[in-house]
Symmetry: C2
Subunit: 141 residues, 2 copies
DNA sequence: CAGACGGGGTTGTAAACTACAACGTAGCAG
DNA sequence: CTGCTACGTTGTAGTTTACAACCCCGTCTG
């Protein structure tokens, strides 16, 4: 199979995946919309990050992140504090309530994924993970 | 590495990818928003499909597809005709103008992908394609 | 040290995308 | 013929996003 066809297949499958995900505002988790959940999860993953870091990770406008973080704070799921190291900006931290909610959601999400890849070997799954990681790590533009 | 951690990595990378894609309404192609483009591309990929097929592919509500196909038709990029085989519904076809636009966009998209995976071997890329395909093929719920 | 600079964040505004619900239409089966 | 069902459209509302304009406050420069 020529590389062009392989590329086309990658393109096609990535598109299907992307389009499918677009439409789940809250289908994944009733308590928290997908977007808020993923944001919260990232804050937990890199404790002490700032809004601008999240914007960079997801390539979002800072205004978008601002609103989402504000929403999470209003729900009592994250807390903001001035950044002692860099002076400017605020560091984000997941509260206990946030962590609790995250644990519950993570369990559901893990179950869903596990069901999808139930017949994959550990090696296959690991290869998939590293390929995705490599793909995401590539710089755009 | 235990399977749980592998799964978590897959989850994390899929989320990053999904969130990044969400925000490109038209960044990919000035002439046509991403969503319209992918819809048009799918119609070309399975000539003779109906709106309901696209809804199934992307797990979208039929109303959403209806509006998007309507938009494409208004732009003169697709044409609708009654379905001779199944009686009900309309088959979709990409017009010449649609195909021309698609060719231009595909070239850009291919270039972008090629740049991202420039240092991947054919085998690695093929493995990525089939893993994505396998993942997408799994039934939800 | 005063003023410019710029990074981080917020708010106003408008657009795209989507779902759900209600409805219309037309094959198809009894 | 009558009901049923698949396919599609329209009304409506919610979420997510970008862009632009703005504010705040460290940091740098003269």
């Amino acid at each position: 199979m020529p590389r062009d066809e392989i590329s086309a297949a990658v393109q096609r499958e990535l598109t299907v995946f992307a389009r499918r995900v677009r439409g789940l505002p809250s289908r994944l988790q009733q308590q928290l919309p997908f977007v808020a959940y993923s944001m919260l999860s990232s804050i937990e993953g890199q404790e002490g990050c700032r809004s601008v870091d999240l914007a960079a990770l997801y390539r979002l406008d800072k205004s978008t992140v601002s609103r989402q973080v504000g929403d999470l704070e209003r729900r009592g799921l994250v807390a903001r504090a001035p950044d002692p190291a860099r002076g400017r900006g605020q560091v984000l931290r997941v509260t206990d309530a946030g962590r609790a909610l995250l644990d519950g959601a993570a369990r559901l999400q893990r179950a869903e994924l596990a069901r999808r890849v139930v017949d994959w070997s550990d090696e296959e799954l690991a290869a998939f993970a590293s390929a995705l990681q490599r793909y995401n790590a590539a710089e755009p533009d």
